[in-house]
Structure formats: C-alpha cells, structure tokens
C-alpha cells in the first residue's frame, strides 16, 4: 500500500522577456518526476543544489502548485490528487502531511513558547486544550526533551534541541507522511548523528512514512529504505539503499558516492570528482543532462535522452550505458 504516488510531476517557471513580457523560455525546475512511498517506508531524495528536490517536496506539501502531473496521496479515507487540489480544499488535508524544516532557527517562532509551538497544529485543528497539554508532554518525551522546555522560548535552545522541537511539532498530528527537507544539514556533525538516531527511533516506534530530502549521500544511508537520485529536474536512479551504495548504476550516483567522506583513506577506491557545474534547468543540455560532466560519455549521450528504465528488480536508472559500465560504490 503506497502512501504517496508521484506521477510525471512537472514544475516549470516561465521566463518573461521583451516589452510585451512574452514567455521566452522556461525553467524546468522539475521535469517529469515519478516515485512512490510505501506505508512505513522512508525514501530519500538526493541531489546537488538546484536539482529540483526542494521543489518536489514543496509541490507535495502544496506550498507550490505543480505545472502538471499527479500527486496521489492516501488520506486514509480514499486517495486524493494533491496536484490539482484547490488551495482551500487543502486545509483539511494538511494535517496528514507535515514537514521538518532545514533551518531550526527560522522554523520556530521566536515569540512563542515551545509548548505553544508544538501545540499549534493541534490547536488549529481543533484539539481541546486539556488534550493538547497531555499531547505536548508526550511529544516532548518522544523527542527526548525535558518537560520544562514547554514554558521556555526557542532562544534558550541549541540547534539540535530546536530541531527536536521542530520534529515534535511535525509529529503532533500523527501525520501519514512526513517531509523532511534536509533536516540535519544545518547542524554540527555530532548533532547530526543524534537527530538521525532520533529519526531512526521514531521510524521504529511510529512506523513513519517519510520523504527525506538531502544534498549528500552520507546522512541518507542510515535513515532511508530507498534512495532516489535527482539531477536537473529528473530522477536518474532509484534503488534500495544498500544496493545503491554497493553498486550504483548511474555515473552521477557514483560521483555523489565518491564525495561521501571515508573514515579510512587506505580503503578508499577510485577518486571521482564531479567537474563543472550543474546544468542550468532553463537550458538543459541536449541528450542526457549529465553528459557534459560524465566520464563515460558517448556520442549518443549527447543527442538521445535516456529514459528511466528498470535494469534489475527494483533498480531503475536512466543511463544508456547502465548495463555496460562497471561503477564503483562504497563498502
């Protein structure tokens, strides 16, 4: 049973130019993305800055309206298409999809007490005050924060603690899906580990379904069941986490894996570095968007665009040479 099915999602931004402000081009921020998240599953969405991963998550949350495509969401009492839902009709559905923010400093209102911050989703969804208090205490305990935090203000807490508060707020309504937008990338490495452990613990206890957006593969390994790698508005590879790390099937994935810091320099394999810049989504290169940076590039990569295809059970990749080349993973 899938909680979320994203089908051919597109988000284009028109570029206006000239006196008449005609559309002269389009930024294809997200250009045909499809994936699904099963109940209790965590899917990681990984890619460099500007690849469209945040746009995808904002479309699912309907902070943005998609240009086309479908976002089928199981709201418990039937499946709805979030992509075409009018904004007004979204409000009762919001409680089912909650978000964990990247920046723990700007995501908490500095003028509200922590207890009120966590209780806000409960309050606006009509939970009575007595129940709210009990739930806030329960949530604070769940994210391993002391109960005294309730009457304090966000300025009294460190980044990691604030992120716990943000997580408690996201979980307040028992959402069916949690979208975590780079939840640890603003934190110190040691604190990152704590938050990752907390998320693992919560997955275990609450059977969370989660879309975990990240810009590098190092943090993703521990939390996600499957990984989708994005490049210039498209998914280039989807695979179960372990398999993707062991044997990537797309050269871009290999590049990202090479960027994962290895604790033992002697065990490190081939050095791979992504040269050049991410392609401009307003003017994506013809053929495979990755070809200007790809070390395995061939002539047809420059003209034909590879489609996402299943190369092995559960393993999808969009590379012409997926079956020919041997790519290095990490142990």
């Amino acid at each position: 049973m899938n909680v979320l099915e994203v089908d051919d999602l597109k988000k284009h931004y028109p570029i206006h130019g000239g006196m008449l402000r005609r559309e002269v081009g389009r930024v294809r921020a997200v250009d045909g993305v499809s994936f699904s998240i099963a109940a209790g599953e965590t899917l990681a969405l990984v890619g460099e800055s500007g690849c469209g991963k945040t746009t995808v998550s904002r479309c699912i949350l309907r902070a943005l309206t998609p240009t086309s495509g479908a976002i089928r969401f199981d709201a418990g009492d039937g499946t709805v298409d979030l992509a075409t839902m009018p904004k007004r009709a979204m409000r009762p559905l919001r409680r089912h999809i909650q978000m964990i923010f990247q920046d723990p400093y700007s995501s908490l209102n500095p003028r509200m007490m922590v207890g009120d911050i966590i209780a806000e989703p409960l309050k606006v969804n009509g939970v009575p005050a007595a129940e709210r208090n009990a739930r806030v205490l329960e949530l604070l305990d769940l994210v391993q924060m002391p109960a005294v935090a309730r009457t304090r203000f966000p300025h009294a807490f460190s980044g990691g603690q604030r992120q716990r508060i943000g997580i408690a707020r996201a979980l307040a309504l028992n959402p069916r899906l949690v979208v975590a937008d780079e939840p640890v990338s603003a934190l110190d490495v040691s604190v990152q580990a704590q938050i990752i452990n907390l998320l693992l613990d919560l997955q275990d206890r609450l059977k969370l379904s989660m879309l975990f957006v990240a810009h590098d593969l190092s943090v993703v390994r521990h939390v996600s069941d499957r990984v989708a790698v994005m490049y210039v508005g498209r998914i280039v590879e989807i695979a179960p986490t372990d398999e993707l790390y062991r044997s990537p099937r797309h050269p871009y994935t290999e590049t990202l894996l090479a960027a994962v810091p290895a604790p033992d320099p002697l065990r490190r394999g081939r050095q791979m570095k992504a040269s050049g810049e991410v392609a401009d989504p307003a003017k994506p290169p013809p053929g495979c968007a990755f070809h200007p940076r790809c070390p395995y590039v061939q002539d047809r990569c420059r003209t034909d665009r590879p489609e996402l295809a299943e190369v092995a059970p559960g393993r999808w990749t969009s590379c012409h040479r997926a079956r020919e080349i041997e790519l290095a993973g990490v142990a």
Partner: protein, 369 residues
C-alpha cells in the same frame, strides 16, 4: 553551576521577546537617557499650564523685550527665593525701554502660587501654578527667558508650545501609522498589481519636493478656519508624506516574513490566514514598527516647526515652537532680544532624544539586523 546563575538562566530561558528587547535596550545608555528626556517632555506637555508661570497669551506693551531674569535663592536672611521688581526706563537716544532690577522691590517666589485660570486636562478649572510671585504690580512676574515684543513671557509660551508641537507629532504619526500599516500590509500580503500600484503611488508622493507641496496645501486652507481646524489640516498634510516610509517598512517585513519558515510551518499546520497574520507576522515586526515610529516622530515635529516657521503651518494665536521661532526671523529683533532664539533649544533636544531613542529601540528589537 551555582544556584544564582541557574536561576538567571531559567529567567532568561523563559523571558519573552519583549523582555529580552527591554534587557538589551537597558544596556544602551544614551537611549535610556533619551527615553527619560522624551518622557519628561511629554510630562511637560501634559502639565503645560501648571508649569507655565504667566499667561502665555497676555500682552502688555510695558514689559516688551524684558531680558531673561534670574531667581535669587538667598538673601541676607538666608533661604528666601525672590526676584527683583523691574523698572523700565526709556533710553532717550534709542527710544528703547531698558529694564533695570530694583533691589528695593523684592518679590518672593512661591511654589503652587495662584496665577491665571486654566483647565487641567479639560476637566477642572484651577489657577494653581508651580511657580509664581506674591504681590507686585501687574507688570511684575518671573520672566526666566525674557519676553517678546508684545510682552508675553517666553518661558511660559515655550512650555505651552511643547504641547502643540509634540502632540502634532503623535497625531501625525498615528495617522501615518494607520495608513502605512493598512496600505503597506495590503501591498506586502497580496503582492501582484495591487503592490505595484501602491508602490508607484508612494514613489510619486515621495518624488514631490515636500516644501512646495506643503506650501500648496497650506495655501489651500481657507482663511476662515479656526485654529483647531488648521491644526487638524496641518496634521493631515504632514502625515500625507510620512506614511510612505512606514508603509515601506511594513511591506518589507511582510514580504520577508511570508517566506520565513515558521510562517510556512503554520500554514502547513492548516492555520487560517488571520491566525498567521495576527499570531505570527504582526508580533514579529511590532518592535520594528515601534522603532520606525520613534524615528518618524522627530521628522513630524521638525515638519511642523518648519511649516509654522515659514508661516505656512499653524497661525497665531496658536503657540508652537515654529511660531515662537517665527519671532526670531527678524535680524533686528534678534539683535535686540537674542533670547527669542532659545525656542530652538527644545526642538534640538527633543529631536536628538527621539533619534537616539529610535536607534536604541531598533538595535534592541533586532540585534542581528
């Protein structure tokens, strides 16, 4: 950790943003002093008639251009505050009245003395004043800052002028604030063509040089209007420009807050538009508005002073700092009675105080900005 620091930390952790702002503000010594000064000025405005010594409207040709007079605190009998009676002698070469203190006529100065009748807060009539002299002739009195051509006591006039000048600032700011918040809020919240329209209007208004605009508008006021009507009209004219600054501040804050994560979080939680605006956005920039207001107030006060000084604002018999300074326009008068220029002192002091106060408030409200 010792118990006291732990308690202090608890206090800090549970402090609201308002408390934190106040704690930061307290460290800004100049701003705190300015706050006291501004407060004192408004107290003077509130109790102007009580603090005034002589009737600010009473004219008497026999006491024109009296130089500033000092209160003597002691005499040979010990503490006995008094002023000397004045004797006016006409200088037969210049035909000018010159005043010499008459040491034989000692006029005792009394606290809570009886003077001219006035209405305190418009509620009850009284004639008690902080200072006054006992006995003496009609032309006797305490003239701390001297008198003007018509023999009116400058000190009392300056005290009474404080009320008009400071209140016109408050009224103008209130009006600008209302316009600014509503129009700036609409501009920032809705965006699109409404935003473009309001912003262009602001630009057009700001591109008009203020003095000619004010001159035109002030000239359009009918001669027959009463002092109160003119006062009200001048307030409107001044705030016509003043609101644009505040509208921009409000719009900017709305625009930046709309993207703020905690606002998005409230939206995603399903909060209503009203809750987002009033619970999350407005409290976040209330402090900025207070700071902007405290910086806008001196501009208003200076505007009124400038307009009245040029004869375009309030007209006598209204008394404001600008009108008092009008008397100091004439170089001949100024040469004979330089004390008339002292009306500029409160203007300078209050403007400086407001500016330091505004700076302090802004720093305290937004330590990172």
């Amino acid at each position: 950790m010792s118990a006291t620091t732990a308690a202090a930390q608890d206090r800090w952790a549970e402090a609201t943003q308002l408390q934190l702002t106040w704690w930061r503000f307290r460290k800004h010594r100049l701003a705190v002093i300015s706050l006291v000064i501004v407060f004192l000025f408004y107290m003077v405005a509130a109790f102007a008639d009580f603090l005034a010594i002589n009737d600010p409207h009473a004219t008497d040709a026999r006491r024109s251009f009296i130089p500033p007079q000092a209160i003597h605190l002691f005499d040979e009998d010990g503490f006995n505050p008094h002023v000397y009676g004045l004797r006016g002698v006409r200088n037969m070469q210049t035909f000018q009245l010159t005043y010499t203190p008459d040491p034989n006529r000692k006029l005792p100065v009394r606290l809570f003395a009886r003077g001219y009748t006035y209405n305190l807060f418009g509620l009850f009539e009284t004639d008690i004043h902080l200072l006054g002299v006992e006995g003496g002739q009609r032309t006797d009195g305490i003239f701390l800052l001297g008198t003007d051509q018509l023999g009116r006591d400058l000190f009392s006039r300056m005290i009474v002028a404080t009320r008009v000048s400071l209140l016109i600032g408050l009224a103008g700011v209130t009006l600008s604030l209302l316009l600014g918040i509503i129009l700036g809020g609409i501009s920032g919240l809705y965006g699109g063509w409404v935003d473009t329209f309001i912003q262009r209007v602001i630009e057009v208004l700001r591109s008009i040089p203020t003095i000619p605009l004010w001159m035109g508008l002030a000239a359009a006021l009918p001669n027959t209007w009463s002092t109160t009507q003119v006062y009200f009209a001048i307030t409107v004219i001044i705030s016509l420009i003043g609101w644009t600054d505040l509208a921009r501040v409000v719009r900017g804050r709305f625009l930046s807050l709309r993207e703020e994560d905690f606002v998005v979080a409230a939206e995603l939680a399903g909060a209503s538009q009203g809750r987002i605006i009033f619970r999350h956005m407005l409290p976040s920039f209330a402090s900025h508005i207070i700071a902007a207001v405290s910086l806008a107030l001196p501009a208003m006060i200076v505007s009124e002073t400038a307009l009245s000084f040029l004869g375009l604002g309030l007209r006598p018999p209204a008394i404001s700092w600008g009108i008092l300074l009008q008397d100091a326009q004439n170089i001949q008068v100024l040469a004979n009675a330089p004390w008339l220029l002292s009306a500029a002192v409160p203007v300078i002091v209050v403007i400086l105080a407001f500016n330091f106060l505004g700076d302090g408030l802004r720093d305290a409200a937004d330590p990172y900005g």
